[in-house]
């Protein structure tokens, strides 16, 4: 099944110009670009149809939570809301698994919960799934710490290489293999 033949793109990049030393072409003079000039978006990412927000307040280890489920599109199956409590906590009111049913588009559904013995985050999920589609949203109270920000690798200066007028003068250093 896996072809052993090289399916080369045949497309030469940078180094197609190789073997002859660096090949430079004079760049066509361009008007200087304005830094970060906004543009009009031609198409944009699809919006998710299932949204969940979770708010709450605490008095000691007694927590009152409010979950708001917003549906903005068609869902494939009835929506199920689940509450996951930290160890040792118990629900005083509200259902741990609540079948919200088939929620129509542009609807908002709310559920409230009271839990006692809460000494950690409470997590709520909503989901709707069929054989052909699945949607899930989740939230936590107190809110989870901001996810670790992805850090871009630093690119170090290198001897400039020009490719069709485009200069590559920095790169991420990578060690050779053993």
């Amino acid at each position: 099944m896996m072809s052993k033949s090289l399916k080369l793109a045949g497309w030469l990049s940078v180094a197609a110009l190789a073997g002859c030393g660096a090949r430079e072409s004079q760049p066509v003079p361009q008007a200087p670009v304005a830094q970060a000039r906004p543009v009009v978006v031609t198409s944009q990412r699809v919006e998710l149809p299932l949204h969940l927000t979770l708010t709450g307040s605490a008095e000691g280890d007694r927590v009152t939570l409010r979950a708001v489920v917003r549906v903005s599109g068609h869902l494939p199956a009835p929506v199920i809301l689940k509450v996951v409590l930290p160890e040792g906590a118990a629900l005083e009111s509200g259902l741990p698994v609540d079948r919200l049913g088939e929620l129509a588009a542009d609807t908002v559904t709310e559920r409230s919960f009271v839990a006692t013995g809460v000494h950690g985050p409470v997590r709520v999920t909503v989901e709707s799934a069929s054989d052909a589609a699945g949607f899930e949203a989740h939230a936590q109270w107190p809110e989870a710490p901001a996810a670790a920000v992805e850090v871009a690798p630093r690119m170090e200066p290198i001897a400039p290489v020009k490719i069709l007028g485009i200069q590559v003068d920095k790169a991420v250093p990578v060690a050779p293999g053993k």
Partner: protein, 487 residues
């Protein structure tokens, strides 16, 4: 039930990823058009879209249409310029790998698994001397292995460069595709951003061993680059007669931690620059690198945006644009634009993996979804189905358009689960959307839509009229009438 791929051990997935076959040799498949030999004729409505192999000046390497000009024997290796050179005097050799994250479905949700290692298939390896002069280059094979012939043994002063700049041929005058490293996010914008690049010191003797670009080193950029180059190749072969001169330059802007207000989007008028005077692209795709999102690993979203770029430049797109949600019935031209982009994403991935992969998925902060375009027809609740009494201009769910496209496409390039009498394959689909019928005529609702696509297919392959109508009316509940309007 989770899709089989997503339950498969990742070892299998890794083995399949980037493993391309030669089955996509455009122009060499027997078609119902032409003279029956697979060759176009003067009356072939797609005659101007067939790929013409070009081995001018090349004795090895790719011919531009998915096959080879030749292979090198003995201790010779094929250079990026398509020449067999001896490695007896010296060479730089090794294997390129990179880390990427693969999705895992768990019931209703989908999440990214831990980093797995993929081959840097077809990535170009460039050797430089200490002055930054190019001294050789070669393309990695499907396993990421590369051999760069040298005129003398490697002394240990050489360096290997991999970068995300792409030109389709030696004769190209400009960079056609790039993946750039933006410094700031926010609203999509024209920026000054460098191309991603990785530099590896070469030890004396020239054996760099297995070089692995890690996630922390920005492997996401290489992942995005390799997929999109293949998509560019597909466009060139299937829609531009193998002529890369017609390609419009495109840049993808992505970096870990950089978020765009649009999440992920395509801007046809957004140029990108690598410095104040050097423009590298006329159009842009913006991909957010936020923590907790799909980021560079979200191949469906990335290829979806590329699908918009393709439609905008090489087909026809009359979408009004704007916000849209899954399960919305929207104007046919809007539904076609989004459905086409979704179908393009999953069909492209399927071809690369040589396996039907109809799952479109995305992870956005705090939420996720997955859609199985092959299952929608059998799952009455999944998508909004059309009404057989609703007419050709009824509002449509973009997911249903993608579902219809999937079902009429599969069975040629990849197996289909349930034969439906129609298996167009990529060749026919791409030619239909690039055909005169699709570009210049309009039936159904105003603007290019699914009806126009069906008409274009039939105009190119009249024998498909009945099977296409049957499949759409029966399995897919769309009232297509088979009454094609052909130029």
């Amino acid at each position: 039930m989770p899709h089989p791929l997503l339950r498969t051990g990742l070892a299998t997935v890794v083995g399949l990823a980037f493993s391309l076959s030669l089955a996509l040799t455009v122009g060499c498949d027997v078609s119902s058009t032409g003279d029956g030999s697979g060759n176009p004729t003067a009356t072939d409505p797609w005659a101007d879209l067939w790929c013409v192999p070009d081995c001018t000046g090349r004795v090895c390497g790719d011919n531009g249409c998915g096959s080879l000009c030749g292979t090198c024997e003995g201790d010779n290796a094929c250079t990026a310029a398509g020449q067999c050179l001896s490695t007896a005097a010296g060479s730089i050799r090794g294997t390129l790998k990179f880390e990427a994250q693969w999705p895992e479905v768990q019931g209703a949700s989908i999440s990214l698994g831990g980093p797995q290692v993929f081959p840097g298939a077809r990535m170009l390896a460039v050797s430089l001397n200490t002055a930054g002069e190019l001294t050789g280059a070669a393309q990695a094979d499907d396993d990421g292995k590369f051999v760069i012939p040298l005129s003398a043994p490697a002394t240990g002063d050489e360096q290997l460069l991999f970068t995300t700049l792409w030109v389709p041929s030696l004769d190209a005058e400009n960079i056609v595709f790039s993946v750039l490293k933006p410094q700031d996010g926010g609203d999509p914008a024209e920026t000054v951003s460098p191309p991603w690049a990785w530099l590896v010191p070469v030890p004396a003797g020239g054996d760099v061993g297995q070089v692995t670009i890690t996630e922390e080193q920005g492997s996401g950029a290489m992942y995005v680059f390799l997929f999109t180059v293949e998509a560019m190749r597909s466009v060139t072969q299937d829609m531009l007669n193998g002529n890369p001169d017609k390609l419009k330059s495109l840049a993808v802007l992505w970096s870990p931690g950089i978020e765009w207000s649009c999440g992920a989007c395509y801007a046809s008028g957004a140029a990108q620059w690598v410095d104040e005077t050097s423009k590298v692209a006329d159009q842009s795709v913006f991909i957010s690198g936020e923590s907790g999102g799909a980021s560079a690993w979200g191949y469906p979203v990335i290829l979806h945006e590329f699908g918009h770029y393709m439609a905008q430049n090489y087909s026809r797109d009359d979408s009004p644009g704007g916000s849209h949600s899954i399960g919305q019935a929207i104007a046919p031209a809007f539904a076609w634009s989004e459905g086409w982009a979704g179908f393009f994403a999953v069909s492209t991935m399927s071809r690369w993996l040589q396996s039907p992969e109809p799952i479109f998925w995305d992870i956005q902060q705090g939420a996720s979804f997955w859609l199985d375009y092959s299952g929608g027809a059998h799952d009455q609740g999944a998508f909004v189905q059309p009404n057989m009494d609703g007419g050709l201009d009824q509002l449509l769910d973009e997911c249903w358009v993608a579902t219809m496209l999937w079902h009429v496409w599969d069975g040629a390039d990849v197996p289909e689960k349930q034969p439906d009498g129609v298996a167009l394959g990529t060749d026919a689909v791409m030619k239909a959307v690039a055909s005169k019928r699709f570009l210049s005529y309009d039936r159904g609702a105003p603007g290019a839509d699914f009806v126009d696509f069906c008409d274009a297919v039939i105009c190119g392959q009249p024998s498909m009229a009945w099977p296409l109508k049957q499949a759409l009316n029966g399995l897919l509940s769309f009232p297509y009438d088979g009454g094609s309007q052909c130029p």
